[in-house]
Point group: C2
Chain length 162, copies 2
């Protein structure tokens, strides 16, 4: 999908999430990042992956949802922007957070093309829409967008090029 | 499903997970609990829900996987026993943990019958087999079992009877 259909604001926030994914890589973690923005355009949370240093649940989105819901549970009007499509665990975390809008960059299909030869990130062939579409309330899922930019932090990472 | 088809050992561990779910309720948390048992029958992790005190990602299974994988990532031969069928988030966490066998008590369908009128646990109409069946490696999913026992910690909880 080209970036033309995304608003300038959404595009800027998605690029911010991609920046967070690059930072995660630079810090020796897996190249995934996300931000949460409230209805007044405040970035209320930014989180990168912490699986190598932390534990296997510390994906960017599950981490961001865990951190923000320690203090807030009124997130219906927020949007979560994420550099790569959330996995099943993270889609579940987004559901439990109450956030009703999620925008992602790189698709799960295209991520799997990069990671399938790497033991660290075995493929899980189910997409965020399969999960968030099973919610009892509507959750808007928007993506993939600017995959050419979202893929950059992954370049060479999964084939041992670190 | 009756308990007859489950081995005595599996049945005993599933009852242990149900005890953990009762303890979680007694401690003011949501009534969910799980344990992880290794190939030598060591209970290497036991975790109850901590959503009210912690954050929305602190379901029993995601918590257990997070805690154990801080120190161990060799969990292929382990079995995770859980009082109630894992949600999408927890099924994803089980996938990322590498655990290849999961046994649950109360089914997601029967949980939803209890929780759907409670705002705290909105229904998500996707089951653990939908997610774990999408893995690239085989993960054995066993359940529901002894639902009459697994439901007890939930009795009166979701209709304000705390």
């Amino acid at each position: 999908m080209s970036s033309t259909e995304l608003s300038e604001k959404d595009l800027a926030y998605l690029r911010e999430a991609i920046k967070v994914s690059q930072q995660a890589r630079d810090e020796g973690q897996h190249p995934f990042g996300c931000i949460i923005v409230d209805e007044n355009d405040n970035v209320i949370m930014s989180a990168g992956n912490r699986v190598p240093d932390g534990d296997v649940t510390q994906h960017a989105e599950t981490r961001a949802v865990g951190l923000i819901t320690k203090t807030r549970r009124d997130l219906e009007k927020c949007t979560l922007y994420t550099s790569t499509e959330p996995c099943a665990m993270c889609s579940g975390a987004i559901f439990w957070s109450g956030i009703r809008r999620m925008i992602f960059g790189l698709s799960n299909e295209n991520l799997i093309k990069l990671t399938q030869k790497s033991g660290e990130c075995p493929p899980l062939y189910i997409n965020s829409r399969d999960i968030l579409g099973a919610a009892s309330h509507p959750i808007e899922v928007v993506g993939p967008y600017i995959e050419d930019e979202a893929i950059i932090p992954h370049k060479g990472f999964w084939d041992g090029g670190r």
